[in-house]
Amino acid sequence: MSEVTVLSAARQRGSMPLRGRSYMAFALTPEPPIADWLGELDVWLRGSSGFFNGRPVVLDLSAVTLTSSAVAHLISELGARGIRIMGLEGMAPEKLGPGLPPLVSGGRAAPVETISSRSQPASPPPARDREPASLLVENPIRSGQAIFFPNGDVTVLGSVGSGAEVIAGGSIHIYGALRGRAMAGTSGNRKARIFCKRLEAELLAIDGYYRTAEDLDAKLRNRPIQAWLAGETLMISETD
């Protein structure tokens, strides 16, 4: 897959501003002999029919030497297989006939999930860096503030004030007093837990099962605790 920069022109009150945009495109690189390469493509497409439907594809001709009419023929062969070519790469500009897609250059390789020959009709997720699965909060969380982190665990070094809340997809670790609300496992993670150094919470919840301050055992007040889910019951025990 390669990244192609496309310039777009937009009309705006007499001026013609040009704006650049980057898109991701698949790059197909035919190898000689072309007939065999098309045959291999057909085999692959039988397992992944429709993979290229509606996808921007660039034809990289650097591995082959073709005349302008041969390129036009190749493009129409690909078109018959549902592959539309938006640009050509690796072709001499003078050979470019008027009926051919524009020449592109400056493409950079981008990661793409290995395309297996099994059917893969859904579009693959856009490749991007993996986000960290935990969040560290170094300051105390004050009343009225909310920390929402659906992707994983939250660690708070200070206290969580009364009227503040921490919502995490994973577990919650609080190295101070918990005076506000802590809601762990909000995206359906029943294994999430809540840990705090001192329990003065207004509410504890894991995957939607909650306890308010009123339902907390008075013996656990001001103690270090952990909370977890056993079936449909929110369990709390002292830790030290």
Binding site: N139, G161, S162, A164
Partner: protein, 271 residues
Amino acid sequence: MGKVIVVTSGKGGVGKTTSTAALGAALARGGQNVVVVDFDVGLRNLDLVMGAERRVVFDLINVVQGVAKLPQALIRDKRLETLYLLPASQTRDKDALTEEGVSRVIADLRSRFDWVICDSPAGIERGATLAMRFADEAVIVANPEVSSVRDSDRIIGLLDSKTEKAERGERMAKHLLIARFDPARASRGEMLGIQDVLEILSIPLLGVIPESEEVLRASNLGAPITICGQQSAPAHAYMDAARRLAGEEVEMMIPTEKKGLFNKLFGRRAA
């Protein structure tokens, strides 16, 4: 360049205006040029506590809107010549304050005075957020009771996110002033202890002001307690707090049940 301090609390009636006047007068008594600014547009009080209500001509809104020049609106105190008041308007509301206008006025005050002390209105709306917006440091006034402490916690969160300083990625210095502390009620458990408040808010303690009738008497006389009741316990506490605000090391005393006796509290400064 002067230092801009916002006196704030979130909750009303905890002693912001009294503390603004008392700290301002205490700093001015040390010879510093001080202006106290009333941001409580529509519900102004600072002019009364300062005893300047009969001399108000122009106010903060007039200056913000460019109707009056800053020197026209400043009122010099009759007792301390380095103490000035910039009053609020009683007839307008907080919507008349613009961020651009407040920024300009604060910058102007900063160039004229050593200390610019802004008395914030209660609440967390426009008036309060604009009062803290351009501050260098904050004095958070809290009473030793749960609602006041929770509101203070909320205000500290706003100071760390909604001020210009916070947006520049800097840390705003915060000082806790515990007002209306009644040692007898605290020892009976009817009030939170100093320790509890410090633990919840976890910011350095600037001072503890004992509950006293002297404070009410001073307000009714129209004089900051640090001017008219200089020998009273709350005046002493405010004087010490002002010295700490100016960077002096002053031993922290907290009022105890026995009248006139003070208990030393070690190491509470950098909580």
